[in-house]
Symmetry: C2
Subunit: 500 residues, 2 copies
Amino acid sequence: MNTKEKLKKLYETMDLAEKYYHAVGLINFDLETISPENAKEEQGEVINFLSNEAFKLTNSEEYNSLIVDLYNSREDLDPLDKVMIEKKYDNYLKIKNITPEFALYMDRVYTKSFLNWLKAKEAADFSVFRDSLAEVIELEKKTISLRENKLPDAYDNLLNDCEKGMLTEQLDSFFGELKAGLLEIMNKINKSKHVIRDDFLTRKVPLHKQEIMSKYLLELNGYDFKKGVLAESEHPFTSDIAKNDARLTTHYHEDMVLSNIFSVIHEGGHGIFMQNEREEDYEHHINDSITNGMHESVSRFYENVIGRSKEYVHLIYPKFMELFSEELGDVSERELYEALNIVKPSLIRTEADEVTYGLHVIIRYEMEKMIMHDEIKVDDIPKMWNRLYKEYLGIEPSNDREGVLQDMHWSSGFGYFPSYAMGNSYNAMYVRKMKEEIDFEGAVSRGEMNIIKEWLKDNVFSHANVFTPDEWIREITGESLTPKYFLEYLNKKYSEIYEF
Amino acid sequence: MNTKEKLKKLYETMDLAEKYYHAVGLINFDLETISPENAKEEQGEVINFLSNEAFKLTNSEEYNSLIVDLYNSREDLDPLDKVMIEKKYDNYLKIKNITPEFALYMDRVYTKSFLNWLKAKEAADFSVFRDSLAEVIELEKKTISLRENKLPDAYDNLLNDCEKGMLTEQLDSFFGELKAGLLEIMNKINKSKHVIRDDFLTRKVPLHKQEIMSKYLLELNGYDFKKGVLAESEHPFTSDIAKNDARLTTHYHEDMVLSNIFSVIHEGGHGIFMQNEREEDYEHHINDSITNGMHESVSRFYENVIGRSKEYVHLIYPKFMELFSEELGDVSERELYEALNIVKPSLIRTEADEVTYGLHVIIRYEMEKMIMHDEIKVDDIPKMWNRLYKEYLGIEPSNDREGVLQDMHWSSGFGYFPSYAMGNSYNAMYVRKMKEEIDFEGAVSRGEMNIIKEWLKDNVFSHANVFTPDEWIREITGESLTPKYFLEYLNKKYSEIYEF
């Protein structure tokens, strides 16, 4: 076979594997949204079976020799083919020593671990999850040891998977600066005498009204329902199922109407990103290259920079009153704006405000380092969690459900959390640029959300699959990742609200 | 390999194929319920791909030789293994000459045909569907010609697929008797002076209230939400996805609250049947052997015999008033009972009453015979449809949407419709037996629906996968299919309502 034929063969195999992954995506979405209780276990087995068929296709001897050959002649390839082969070669080095049997074993460990985490969270009892967590830690170490392209530091491998090139050295300094800045703002807010009205936040709002609001907000922000759906799951998430299928979920709470609203705006941000990837990225099978940090920059941009802005509250207030006047008719526009920007240490990351949020992430980052560096025993994890919450946020969980068991992430490994905090800093960096080029506040006030989406498309979404995070943020802003502008943004916004 | 080893190998392959079919079931359910518009085409390709993988597994040379060998030594097998191999051998004769390529071609024709039917229905224009329908007719004939076990009459093959052993000869006499009886009842009703109040049937009822009602009715009837879900689709259906996953859909219309209620009760009947199949039928891979007629007997039993009875209306009336008092507070229990039993010729089968329903089916049966016997040209199908409606029901569709395009069935072949009418007659036969053994009216009035479900489980559900329809109905009632008791039931019920 010549290079062209090899390339053709490779794409054919990837197309085939993609059919399996498409199926897995759909079945997994079903599992998390509507699959009935007694059906879940068997459905999990179907997912593992299909994933394994795809794994076999893309880790066969024949496939791997195509990868190696094409990598060796990558300089002769078209630019996007070259990007593709570099990414696939990287992945090949990572997984070539994993047999299909071991891959299936891994899938089963993760499935079991996820189910045990669910049970443990429900029972608010870490001991139910303990053995699975220990297994996951062992598995992370084992799979790192099998890599051909491993980095010397165990945790760096996991960080690198999530955010290529962002390793502990850079993150330690990033988080150090971020932490100092956040604590400073916290201090100012703590001293503030300004009181924000919050009595209405737990009033009951019927779910069918919340559903209408959700759909309204997503359409307003530019999410395209012809290429996605909104469903309900225990924990909100977005799933990139296929080129024309970027799906969102939320969770409705009758007595927490804002929780759903901000989940929907957040996940909608992920969805808008996915719906605006370039056609050719799909054709070249590099469409899954956007890092978590890039993704979170967009979702948290929609959630916070837009969603919690005065202009956006002004924009949606009439709809808010139209739908919720019976329950929330006595809340003024300013009261609503302030209430959804209350800063207050809390135990649950996903419900945290913009200022304390980063501290939740830093706690997890610190702990993941300890875990991957063997500096902590599995049994001591809950204690350490509680100690760090006390130290960083001044409050302590009363049980494991509101402590170490709150997030599902550790049931499938480590390295994701830092992305959340990077996301905030990335968007603060590129929003400065955006504001130089378009009338951001004006566009939001007038509901011209398309202007914003188009700017993101031209500047943020394009090339996201091609660049590393550092290349990407430098291309947009000329600078490498820094928390400086995010801290500036917080200071400006909250000094106005809390009058400091 | 000895017989035991061959059997083991066969079951292993079927288990594997079942994983694909499980996936296909889930993805298809998704396609019909929530899949976004622009994603459907690619999702259809995933379904076809996975189906074809399963087809290859269960029509390979190796697999087929296991089937033949085990069939030849079937007398040595355990009873359920013997049943299984007889069914699989039958299927082997049917499909052995179909190549995977041809199977994939078929899947694609059906997918395209379904989409063209959708478009045609929306446009109310038969010509949009015409070529696809012609293709489907050709394909039916072609696949029949490829069968090793074909029957001489083309249409008999299709009837036999749906309802083993029920061929045109028997059905001609069954439908002849049924038609005469139905027309006689229609005549009596036409002469009746009794007026039924129907002004409230099109009042608007908010969808979220209808959703609550749906869930209430399903739980009341004994549908188990731990082993199933209720979703929404364009056309209500039930899908047997896996042992612990029997899913239902409905369609909510704001101005047709009864339409949803009876869809839900009907599909719930299918679901209850599926949820109560014997565990060992799944283990032996014969769980899909229940015929459409058997299935419809149960769904139409729940929908009509229970759902439209005085006792059931009495049972659910308080919940009806609790939920819908704002919209339907002025409707008495008797008025509700009569309104949901109005007999009146209409154009749409799925909205038809118990009496005229059979005529809708007979029209389709007559036309399917003509089509498969080459007695009608494709272009003449809409005209013939309208002529028969005029002749049997005295009314004529004003366009193809309310005429020949109303049902999706013909986009995937012929032979299903007769089952609907058989279902009514089957249940009228076994309900007589049921009433001898349990206090049916008392159980319904008191909401003791479990007594009914248990009776069905012991008498109707058990062995349904093992027997042919005739063996099954004779085992329950001692008689072969007859419309006699169904006509008796209609006469008794409607003479009370229409005072004849």
